[in-house]
């Protein structure tokens, strides 16, 4: 409890999406998808580097990645990419003062103007867009 109050939970605290509502979940998903996308970027660059070793090496790499598991990972990457983009644009606009409301006197029940319905709607739209993109991605990947 003392650790929680002193805001020194470290990784455990960062990995916990609960306690602070939908905005916290959005923050958590943004971090998680960012880390996932960075891991994918590194993997993708390594994967494509096999092309310099010729056709045999490339085909061997394709055998490894163009599988059901590979396609499922790619579907997840599509979802992470779309969510990270859409929510990232929301965050960018928010930092620019767009859609966060006007500052005012703190009055009971102390609802922050920045955590308004527009922000919540944007978070849900980001999640919905990611889900739609994943479904479309699956149709393309598994439709071959």
């Amino acid at each position: 409890m003392t650790e929680r109050m002193s805001n020194r939970e470290g990784l455990k605290g960062m990995a916990n999406p609960t306690r602070y509502g939908l905005e916290r979940v959005a923050y958590w998903l943004q971090r998680l998808s960012g880390l996932g996308l960075l891991a994918y970027l590194i993997g993708h660059i390594y994967e494509t580097s096999s092309i310099v070793n010729g056709k045999v090496a490339w085909d061997k790499m394709l055998e490894l990645t163009q599988t059901t598991q590979g396609h499922l990972i790619l579907t997840l990457v599509i979802g992470m990419c779309v969510y990270h983009t859409a929510n990232g644009i929301r965050v960018m606009l928010g930092q620019g003062g767009i859609g966060v409301g006007k500052p005012g006197q703190p009055e009971y029940p102390y609802k922050a103007a920045s955590l308004n319905y527009k922000q919540r709607l944007c978070i849900w739209v980001s999640i919905a867009l990611a889900a739609l993109a994943m479904m479309y991605g699956m149709a393309v990947l598994f439709g071959d």
Partner: protein, 114 residues
């Protein structure tokens, strides 16, 4: 460099990457997905100079954005002079290494050195 400038770079690289990654994905959709990944098709993509240049730009934008994002996360976790220096320089090093490795692929495949 001031953090406010770094965040502007972070947002700029994000917007640039979104536009260029869209083109990168659309290139895969010009034909059947698995066909587009065939060796000859991919090599042909690398031989197309504007596309190869675009890949290089995407590589730089995503590396800068990705490793700066990781840097921000790690700095949020823990603070301290030595730790922060380690994270800052480590991120720049990792970013440079990834760009160098990716550029090597683009250059070698583009020049037919495979």
């Amino acid at each position: 460099m001031r953090e406010s400038i770094i965040m502007k770079i972070h947002y700029g690289t994000a917007l640039g990457a979104v536009a260029l990654v869209t083109i990168h994905i659309l290139f895969r959709m010009t034909q059947n997905f698995s066909e587009s990944l065939q060796y000859q098709n991919v090599i042909a993509n690398y031989h197309l100079l504007p596309y190869a240049l675009m890949l290089e730009v995407v590589l730089i934008l995503l590396s800068v954005h990705g490793f700066n994002g990781l840097r921000v996360i790690l700095l949020e976790l823990k603070q301290g002079i030595v730790y922060e220096k380690l994270i800052n320089y480590g991120s720049i090093g990792a970013m440079a290494a990834l760009i160098a490795y990716g550029s090597r692929t683009i250059l070698m495949a583009g020049m037919g050195m495979s």
